[in-house]
């Protein structure tokens, strides 16, 4: 049965609607995935939620999947953190090396042959890359980003 529309109902409804708007607009963002750069972890046209509070109390960890914002939070990149400031990153025959040691990446399922010269990550930056390395290196958006561009992580 539909509740009676009285002052109490309207008040509760307004509170609920406002809370839901704030929660889903600023805290837990519904996200539609477009693109295959995080395959097979996240599929093209998949869905997830972005949790913006993850890094309020802690720093990103290696292997975290993070949301990288552009001008705002309506459109963001999903990438995986692989290296931190001061570390040197390089790709050799498709394998990722951090400070000369191969990084084990169980989430990378597709083989690749990427090669990239070593790069030392600058202060205030992180190095991120997608899980799908089967695309040519030129077509994949990855690299060093400013830490302030990280807007949270995914819920799952």
């Amino acid at each position: 049965m539909f509740p009676r529309i009285n002052r109490k109902f309207v008040f509760r409804f307004l509170i609920l609607a406002t809370s839901a708007y704030i929660f889903f607009r600023f805290v837990c963002l519904p996200m539609r995935i477009q693109g295959a750069s995080m395959e097979p972890t996240y599929h093209d046209l998949g869905f997830t939620f972005g949790w913006r509070l993850t890094y309020l109390l802690r720093q990103p960890r290696r292997h975290d999947v993070v949301m990288v914002r552009l001008a705002g939070t309506r459109v963001m990149f999903l990438k995986r953190v692989v290296a931190f400031a001061g570390e040197t990153v390089e790709f050799k025959s498709g394998k990722l090396y951090v400070d000369g040691r191969e990084l084990l990446e169980p989430y990378v399922k597709y083989p690749c042959n990427w090669n990239k010269a070593p790069l030392k990550v600058r202060a205030g930056c992180l190095y991120v890359v997608g899980d799908n390395r089967s695309v040519p290196i030129e077509e994949h958006q990855f690299g060093e980003i400013e830490t302030k561009r990280i807007s949270g992580s995914t819920v799952w």
Binding site: Q34, G72, V75, Q141, G143, E144, I145
Partner: protein, 166 residues
């Protein structure tokens, strides 16, 4: 005058709502700039059934949103350099002819006014184009400057921001 206290709260709410509506409807510079971006997005859109006449007229209308000359930096599909209005129209027509369908989505506009008659806008642009030979789907952060000329906000420079440093 006797006022029922039950009428005061709805009265105040109505007053606040009216004031908010008036402010919201009032024309301002930020709205005018947002309108230019909406116009850019609309004119850039191409449907599969677009004929040559529409392609050329839309390219000309797009170039009229730009200053003469305007500067496009950072390889914006595949524009890079300084263009006169005529050159911009030709370049836009060439890009339109290259694809069957085009969509340009502009979001997260952040507008600032560094000086009078000039606006700096940061935004996210999603360019999606499909064609028989080529398909492109790109997301970029852009920094644009617009200047006010004859009462119109026109695009003066557009530059892509490199979010990732490879």
């Amino acid at each position: 005058m006797v006022t029922n206290s039950k009428q005061i709260v709805p009265g105040i709410l109505l007053l606040v709502a009216t004031a908010a509506l008036i402010i919201w409807l009032m024309p301002n510079e930020k709205k005018a700039i947002r309108k230019q971006f909406a116009c850019l997005s609309e004119l850039a859109r191409k449907n599969e059934d677009e004929n040559l006449f529409v392609t050329l007229s839309k390219a000309k209308l797009l170039s009229e949103l730009m200053t003469d000359p305007c500067e496009l930096k950072g390889n914006i599909q595949p524009l890079d350099g300084t263009y006169s209005r005529q050159e911009a129209a030709t370049a836009f027509a060439a890009i339109r002819a290259q694809f069957d369908a085009i969509a340009l989505e502009l979001t997260d506009l952040s507008i600032e006014f560094p000086e009078k008659g000039s606006a700096a806008v940061t935004l996210t642009a999603r360019f999606k184009a499909t064609g028989s030979r080529d398909s492109v789907s790109e997301v970029r952060e852009l920094n644009c400057t617009l200047v006010k000329q004859d009462g119109k906000w026109l695009f003066n420079t557009c530059q892509t921001v490199d979010v990732f440093q490879k």
